[in-house]
């Protein structure tokens, strides 16, 4: 989710659509928004309300500097996990 927000200001519904389009399944609002709220509380994203087509408007999220640092660290750890897991799987295949 932070990677999607890192691409530019976006809002909850768009994030859910993007995750679904990328094949990560349908993320329910009840999962998505509390997570965004937590990111906001932790200062990883900042939010601002902007008028939408209809209704109460849209809450746009933008990555903060702290969020960018956190994302870099998460990406590093993920790459490390993939490397270790990949090596283990390869070792099992080649045995």
């Amino acid at each position: 989710m932070l990677s999607i927000v890192a691409e530019g200001p976006t809002y909850g519904y768009l994030i859910a659509q993007r995750l679904e389009r990328e094949g990560l399944g349908q993320i329910k609002g009840g999962t998505l928004y509390p997570l965004l709220a937590r990111y906001e509380q932790e200062g990883l994203v900042e939010a601002s309300w902007q008028p939408g087509g209809t209704g109460p408007g849209r809450k746009y999220f933008t990555l903060t500097d702290a969020g960018r640092e956190h994302l870099t660290e998460v990406r590093r750890r993920w790459a490390e996990f993939v490397r270790v897991a990949g090596a283990l799987i390869e070792a099992g295949v080649n045995r």
């Binding site: 329910k28 928004y33 509390p34 209809t54 809450k59």
Partner: protein
């Protein structure tokens, strides 16, 4: 029931659940706007998307339990019932020149009763200010 009515009903229940958990007015407004915005755009059923209003409130405000609300209810009941009883019995105690419950002089009973009811009113005012 129309979709708009279902969404409005859900938002009403969600507002109550958030309020009971002691969320500030600004926090309640923010959550309601996000949920409404998403539901209008996605056109989905609120309960299948966000769960029950209680579940939704819990997930948005994980640190806000109902404990504070129930303590407030308990303190309110004790303060008003005991305070009111002491004040009323105190009035009769003064009029009939008798001790209330066999131990408290009438004026003392009125004073303690009014103090309890007054504390309850101050508690409510404080709670109301805290949520703004």
């Amino acid at each position: 029931m129309s979709t708009d009515e279902i969404v409005a009903g859900y938002l009403d229940e969600l507002a109550t659940e958030l309020d009971l958990r002691g969320a500030s007015t600004a926090a309640v407004d923010d959550v309601l706007r996000q949920v409404e915005s998403h539901l209008l755009e996605a056109g989905v059923d609120p309960r299948s998307e966000f769960g029950s209003p209680a579940d939704c409130a819990r997930s948005f405000l994980p640190g806000h339990s109902m404990t504070r609300f129930w303590i407030l209810v308990a303190v309110s009941v004790v303060s008003t019932v005991i305070g009111g009883l002491l004040a009323i019995r105190g009035v009769f105690g003064v009029l009939e020149d008798q001790l209330v419950f066999g131990i408290l002089p009438g004026w003392w009973s009125i004073g303690v009763g009014l103090l309890l009811v007054g504390s309850w009113v101050l508690l409510l005012i404080n709670e109301s200010r805290r949520r703004r």
